[in-house]
């Protein structure tokens, strides 16, 4: 069963033509997105600055109060 699956995918990938370029693009894209952009440019603001759900909730509550006056 597993052997069959393995052969199925192996042959599939081997016989690809345009698919090879596409896989390369997908991999480069995912690398840029997750290993560069997410890590260096898109830290989760609340997770980086606060430890607990409670302190996140307090921060957002304070923001919502301050922004109105």
């Amino acid at each position: 069963m597993f052997n069959k699956l393995y052969i199925f995918y192996r042959d599939g990938f081997k016989n690809m033509t345009v698919g090879k370029t596409l896989w390369l693009i997908v991999l480069i894209k995912l690398f840029i997105m997750f290993a560069i952009l997410k890590v260096f440019f898109f830290p989760d603001y609340l997770n980086t600055n606060f430890d607990s759900d409670e302190s996140k909730a307090n921060h957002v509550r304070q923001e919502l109060i301050n922004k109105s006056n």
Partner: protein, 516 residues
């Protein structure tokens, strides 16, 4: 008012708009081309004709190119939620939480399984199993658009959630009312059908190119026929659901409707505009300047009243009415902006007092403040607005986008009907003008979808969540410089992807169906 960094808000919005619009360049073709290739493969299985298999494989390859390049571009929007819009992300809580993740994982596994059978499984699995995999790939792709559109619909019409002041977030109390919200269902269908329309335009446009080149004529005529029939159905569906969208907008976001139609002063028996040129001198909502330099209503009187309220005599409130209140609605007399703002301020004050009371462990006062907050919560967001003008979205942008989208919808219908007519007359390959028009219309399919998003999203400003949270309260306290930097990083990344998409697509199209 806390000094608001205008450029931070501007850049955060610009970044979201740019990435969402780029993302939307990839999604609709996946949805539309997916149906076309599945229909063609069904025809192959039913008739056993190799020509259908050849056509299926050609469109499937283009589907693959578009899918590979577009996949995961939507995740970038989620990065932005966490970084740029953290108040918003926290505040909406559950709606972007578990359901989005579960759906993501489900759709991923569904697509990962079936897409590989679809591409690798020819001659290896049974015909019927292969066909089922093709349909399931498209179903998976379509379903992965579901929850994000449900979340979007919730922002336009927030129901089924309750605000918990201890956690400062909205908690889901009724999953089904969120999922089955009429706005969500309509939005999902209108959006999916817009993908179908684009898919059909793409198929007739590319087929027209083959006919103009006098290449692969049999394949092109077959594809043209499927594309045109599918196009007529898809355009009829988009017009039908577009009517539903306009109805829900009227009911739930009357300001958006007023802006879509450039309606400043409300009226009964209101006409729908077929065409209009706005007067750039109209700067203030309550001056006496005519908002139009010229306008032409559709010939059915009271059509806007009918569209919005299913009654030709219904009153449609204009921008001025919505700000000044005083007209009757099913929920009672509409409140003026000043009253909504007062209630919003009362809600925010109650939140602040609740916080203090809880810190002082004064549970009795806390319960009172919580009740005040709950009573006024429906107007929470108005507490952040100073002037009534802040309630008005950009009129020209929304007005023209809406009218171009609708106009394009009518044009697409006419085009598909004419193409189908000549397909049945069996002389479409001789209609050079029509082939050129079909080819040149492909970009307009993209334009129509993007304009739709402008109507939906610019038209709901200033709200991130209708009436509850305006965009200025939704953003994170970060530097506008960093948002500016990432704006350009994304611009480069997406442009590179787009260039790759166009180049690979063109190369595959030029190769033609023989090599697939």
């Amino acid at each position: 008012m806390e000094l608001l960094d205008v450029s931070l808000l501007g850049w955060s919005r610009a970044q979201f708009a740019m990435t969402a619009m780029y993302h939307w360049l990839f999604v609709p073709l996946t949805l539309g081309l997916g149906i076309v290739m599945s229909v063609m493969e069904t025809l192959y299985v039913k008739t056993g004709k190799e020509e259908w298999k050849k056509a299926t494989k050609f469109w499937m390859t283009l589907f693959g190119v578009n899918f590979a390049i577009g996949v995961a571009t939507g995740i970038i929007l989620e990065f932005e939620f966490g970084t740029n819009w953290s108040n918003y992300s926290w505040f909406v809580g559950d709606i972007f939480g578990a359901p989005l993740a579960i759906e993501g994982i489900m759709a991923f596994f569904m697509e990962a399984t079936f897409i590989s059978i679809m591409f690798f499984g020819w001659n290896k699995v049974s015909q019927k199993f292969h066909l089922a995999s093709t349909w399931l790939t498209v179903l998976g792709a379509t379903l992965s658009a579901l929850w994000i559109l449900v979340a979007n619909a919730w922002m336009q019409y927030p129901i089924g959630m309750e605000f918990n002041p201890d956690m400062t977030r909205n908690e889901m109390i009724d999953f089904w009312s969120i999922l089955l919200s009429p706005v969500a269902i309509n939005k999902f269908l209108h959006t999916v059908f817009s993908g179908w329309v684009l898919g059909a335009l793409f198929v007739i446009g590319v087929s027209a190119w083959f006919l103009l080149k006098k290449r692969d004529t049999d394949f092109a005529l077959r594809s043209m026929k499927v594309g045109a029939i599918f196009g007529v159905i898809a355009t009829a569906l988009i017009i039908l659901t577009g009517d539903g969208s306009a109805y829900h907008v009227s009911q739930k976001q009357p300001m958006k409707l007023a802006v879509m139609e450039g309606l400043y002063e409300g009226k009964t028996n209101a006409d729908l505009l077929a065409f209009g040129v706005l007067n750039p001198d109209k700067k203030v909502y309550n001056d006496s300047i005519d908002p139009f330099l010229m306008k032409m209503p559709v010939p059915v009187p009271g059509m806007l009243s009918f569209l919005g309220y299913r009654d030709f005599d219904a009153f449609v409130p204009g921008i001025k009415d919505i700000i000044e209140g005083g007209y009757e609605t099913p929920k009672g007399t509409a409140l003026p902006f000043t009253e909504k703002k007062a209630r919003g301020k009362a809600a925010i004050r109650a939140l602040a007092d609740y916080q203090k009371a809880m810190a002082a462990k004064d549970t009795i006062s806390a319960a009172t403040y919580k009740a005040v907050l709950k009573e006024n919560y429906a107007y929470f967001g108005y507490g952040y607005l100073e002037n009534p003008e802040e309630l008005i979205p950009n009129v020209p942008m929304v007005f023209y986008s809406f009218h171009f989208m609708v106009g394009l919808g009518m044009y697409f219908l006419a085009l598909f009907v004419v193409v189908l007519f000549f397909v049945y007359r069996k002389n479409i390959e001789k209609q050079k003008w029509l082939l050129w028009i079909s080819l040149l219309t492909i970009p307009l399919g993209y334009v129509a979808g993007e304009l739709g998003w402008v109507v939906a999203e610019v038209g709901r400003q200033p709200w991130a969540i209708q009436d509850v949270l305006p965009v200025q309260a939704a953003i994170s306290n970060i530097s506008s410089e960093s948002v500016k930097l990432t704006f350009f990083l994304f611009l480069i990344l997406f442009t590179a992807l787009l260039v790759a998409e166009v180049r690979i697509m063109l190369k595959q199209i030029k190769k033609g169906p023989e090599t697939h």
